[in-house]
Amino acid sequence: MRNSNLKGWLYLLPAILFLGFFMVYPLVDVLVYSFEEGYNFASQTSFGVGLYNYSYVLHDGYFLQAVKNTFILVVITVPLSTGIALLISLGLNAVRPLRNLYQTIFFLPYVTNTLAVGLVFMILFKKTAYSEGMINLLIHWFGGESVDFIDGPYWAKMFVMCFYTIWVVMPFKILILTSALASVNQDYYRAARVDATPKWRIFTQITLPMISPMVFYLVITGFIGAFKAYSDEVALFGTDLNAAGMNTIVGYVYDMLYGDSGGYPSYASAAALILFVIVLTITCINLLVSKKHVHY
């Protein structure tokens, strides 16, 4: 008995070491950092314990701008991407020939480097002195005025940001939703057909309830993922997001860390914890809502 105890823990040891050192310890550490005031990185000393870091962060204009950007991103991309993914999944489910081809194409963005593709998007959307850019060409075709989406007005930048984010998250959502739709027992649909159920009623009374657990899963993880947005922004606008006014909360955290003078881990920790609290709250709200609406 004792031997097997030892053996079990021995097998777990590598995992425990890695996780403990690189996950648990940092968690505690960050908590501590965020409450230490006036932490000086070079000398590793601090003045005292208090909420100064939080206060600083919450009053920082850059942080507030980042919060605003992140919230807009979340509110726009999560419902839109889930809705469009649902539409596409329903479409995929309804046609049989070419389905695999479409699914494979739709999944392509998942395996690509977001920075790499982001660059392409930047080129397509940017208007420079030399060139209009691909998207502006399309706008002209429809009779509009060209806009610089990368260096132009705020709404344009937000637009391309949301568009790119949706583009990036769609593969995962489409995949999950198509497998959810495929796992619905076909007999339900046959029974509904025999009972002369109109198509929209089949959708709202049968399809939606059956896949509602998956839909809520996507909404919850969608929210969490959107709040953590960062690399997509960098891909489009470059590393100095503050200059573009498009920073996100996570970007702010990294700025505070790496930015000017070897980092203010205190401010970064405080900001990171604020983010964590926001995400936790929203997730709890989501879970409460889903308990009411998710069927069986």
């Binding site: 097997s4 105890n5 053996k7 079990g8 823990w9 097998y11 777990l12 590598p14 995992a15 890695f18 690189f22 996950m23 648990v24 940092p26 550490d29 960050v30 469009i84 479409g91 309804a94 046609v95 479409y102 494979t104 739709f106 999944f107 392509l108 963005p109 998942y110 480097n113 977001t114 920075l115 790499a116 593709v117 660059l119 392409v120 998007f121 080129i123 060139s131 850019g133 691909m134 060409l137 583009w167 995962f172 995949l175 999950i176 959810a180 899963y217 993880t221 960062y230 960098v234 470059g238 955290v253 990294y254 860390l257 790496y258 980092g263 881990p265 920790s269 990171a272 983010l275 964590f276």
Partner: protein, 291 residues
Amino acid sequence: MAKQVDYEKIGRSARARGAAGKTVIYALLTVWAVMVLFPFYWMVLTSVKSYSAYNSEYIPRFFTLSPTLQNYADAFTAVPLARYFLNTLVFTLVTTAVMLLVVVLAAFAFARLDFRGKNIAFTLFLSLMMIPSELVVITNFVTITNLGLRNTFTGLILPSVTSVFYIYLLKENFEQIPGELYRAAKVDGTSDFKYLVKVMLPISQPTIVTITILKIIECWNSYVWPRLITDDAAYFLVSNGIQEIRENGFGRENIPAMMAAVVVISVPLIVLFLIFHKKIMAGVSRGGTKG
């Protein structure tokens, strides 16, 4: 119940509605397919346009009359793209290998071995999945810096190995292998380790392949961590390498060469995807639904 109903007409109109609906669906699907593929097309197209041709296009063209590979040559010579490539390769392979070792051992422990505190340990592990990586990065950054591991492979690799998610996935897979096999092997005097290697690994091969591929994708596309701890270009990975090119390198002037670099770093994963797409999609789907 039915009076003078024209059955033929009902049958025909149902079929016609079906055909119209299908057309709309295909149109919708094709629209999105174009939106997915177009950036890639543009990527490749731009990479073969010559520098002068590209810059002279005020209105961008959809094609090029004189494709050239010059940009690729430029990409490799102007910046150490090959170096970034190599770094990323090393990083990916080593991280994935270490991760496999850690994950396989841990999953086996949770799935088959009996030891005190097992359930508590597992619950703790699961709860770790909730910790956002953004929090953790901060301290790891400080730790690695203090250990003097900035701009080293060790510093890049170590924190990237951990992943509770893969342990969870593999454990579930291990548990589906009947316990009787284990007990029979024990009766025959097989050691645990031998059983793990000779029996469980071969049977779980599909899941292990999936985990490996997913980790490879994750490592290849990793950006934040390398960005944070490397400022020496000799240690850049492809993602922060690209970023570097874009901001400080020729990225600002020489877009076609930029695109050539982008194509080069995207190709490995795309090839991997084309070969293994079924496995990858099945793995992500299973992992997603388990979450």
